[in-house]
């Protein structure tokens, strides 16, 4: 898995708590080595996944967005992934209109028992993102450094914390 060595890119994952998040756990328990680029956000259901979260991420510099939920018919809430499938398919097709390569976005189904599959999904997606490279930047560095300043400003107020 070449991507394990290359420098990391910015990949954000939105995972359904009932299946794919568990699948990622299963992969961990099985020690299925994966690229480290991905950062996972836990969702109650892909039905909760607002396509705008993905767009927000892209405009904020994400190089890839991955959404994974329960296989169709297997939704813990019966219909969540059916709604998700429509919303996310529209999103996937809309991205090229915005000039974002559709391959930067992937949605799919991984159950809690499919640890090995999860490893493949993460690896494959990360490989694709590395092929595509970093996404086009939206705004000049000054905004960035403003943010940095903000971060710097927020310092712990407590007396010498134990570390």
């Amino acid at each position: 898995m070449p991507v394990l060595d290359g420098s990391e890119l910015r990949i954000i994952g939105f995972l359904c708590n009932w299946c794919s998040y568990g699948g990622a756990d299963t992969a961990g328990v099985g020690r299925f080595v994966q690229p480290t680029d991905l950062r996972i956000i836990r969702m109650p259901c892909t039905g909760r996944m607002d396509p705008l979260f993905a767009l927000k991420a892209f405009l904020n510099g994400a190089d890839g967005v991955l959404v994974s939920g329960c296989h169709p018919n297997d939704c813990h809430y019966a219909e969540g992934n059916f709604y998700a499938r429509r919303r996310l398919e529209v999103l996937e097709r809309f991205l090229p209109v915005l000039g974002i390569d559709a391959r930067r976005f992937h949605y799919g189904w991984v159950s809690a028992s499919e640890g090995a599959k999860w490893q493949q999904v993460v690896t494959h997606f990360t490989e694709i993102i590395h092929e595509l490279g970093p996404i086009a930047k939206l705004d000049p560095e000054l905004a960035v450094c403003a943010i940095k300043a903000m971060d710097g400003a927020v310092q712990p107020t407590a007396a010498a914390p134990a570390v």
Partner: protein, 316 residues
């Protein structure tokens, strides 16, 4: 009897059972019309109906939900009414629709490229041309050059819904190929991102696009100016401006009738309709759905099919 006279008569007849009727009157100059509210028969004297009645009046309907409203609609406007009905945002009983068959309206943005709008003294639309006269002479422009893009590709010149149809239905014409749309379609992926970044950079966050959109019913609780939830900050970076357009677009997915009010209203001329047309093409292709033609239909993103015929899920 002219179409306008028939219209006035019809409205006058209906007025007693209505709180108000939405129509057009002459605007600040000869080329501009403006929406106005007809409450009594005498208001009818100000009513105009011509190729310059560009506004889609249905964007007002959501605010008048508690009134019995009459509304004048062109073919394109009528689709907004249908979509609003379909989403049960207005009730059929409380709207009376006066349908106006339409052969296209003039796009003042296009016109302003060849004339100074404020100096025009008279404008007459003939079969094929727009005849303008000003102090220093007159000008004849072929209609296709001055009609709005949406009219050149219009599939519904006759209102799809109406209680009264004013005048004879017109013969639909073959949609023309829009140079702007074709140019965008031909644009390589890499350039599109830069293209939109440039376009969005011009946005001044005036929200005219939103306010003129008949499908945008959130209005004063719009995510654009809400701070809880905090989808948008007040900063005027391209990111925030683009994000707002994406919110607007996604909220219109499977609902947009392509009436083009957003683009017409945009003071800095961002090609918003281009983006919406692409989006509509997607929902059309995926769900075989066209917004605002069937009051009984369900917007595609408000439902699902256990087996989606057009959605090919990825192998992995």
């Amino acid at each position: 009897m002219s179409q306008l006279e028939i219209l006035k008569e019809a409205v006058a007849k209906a007025l007693p059972d209505l709180d108000l009727v939405l129509g057009w009157r002459q605007g600040i100059n000869i080329l501009r019309t403006a929406p106005f509210i007809i409450r009594s028969a005498k208001d009818l004297d100000n009513l105009v109906w011509n190729r310059l009645c560009v506004n889609n009046l249905s964007s007002q309907l959501m605010h008048l939900r508690d009134k019995r409203v009459g509304i004048l609609v062109k073919g394109c406007d009528s689709r907004s009414v249908v979509q609003l009905l379909q989403e049960k945002l207005i009730s059929r009983e409380s709207v009376k629709v006066f349908g106006l068959p339409c052969t296209g309206v003039v796009d003042l943005k296009k016109l302003s490229r060849s004339v100074d709008l404020d100096r025009v003294e008279a404008a007459v639309v003939t079969e094929r041309t727009l005849e303008l006269s000003a102090d220093q002479g007159s000008l004849s422009l072929p209609l296709p050059e001055v009609l709005a893009d949406k009219c050149l590709v219009c599939k519904y010149p006759n209102p799809v819904i109406h209680d009264a149809l004013i005048g004879e239905p017109v013969e639909p014409w073959a949609p023309a190929e829009l140079p702007a749309q074709a140019a965008f379609a031909a644009m390589p992926l890499a350039e599109r991102f830069a293209y939109w970044r440039e376009q969005m950079d011009r946005c001044i966050r005036c929200y005219a696009c939103r306010n003129s959109c008949p499908m945008c019913f959130c209005k004063d609780v719009c995510l654009g100016d809400s701070r809880d939830p905090h989808w948008q900050s007040q900063e005027t970076s391209v990111r925030e401006k683009w994000m707002f357009q994406l919110i607007h677009a996604m909220h219109l997915a499977g609902r947009c009738t392509g009436c083009g009010e957003c683009e017409r209203a945009c003071p800095v001329g961002i090609p918003l309709l281009t983006m919406k047309r692409e989006l509509n093409a997607i929902t059309q292709d995926l769900f075989g759905y066209e917004a605002g033609v069937d009051p009984a239909a369900t917007p595609p993103l408000m439902t699902f099919a256990v087996v989606e015929e057009k959605i090919k899920e990825s192998e992995w």
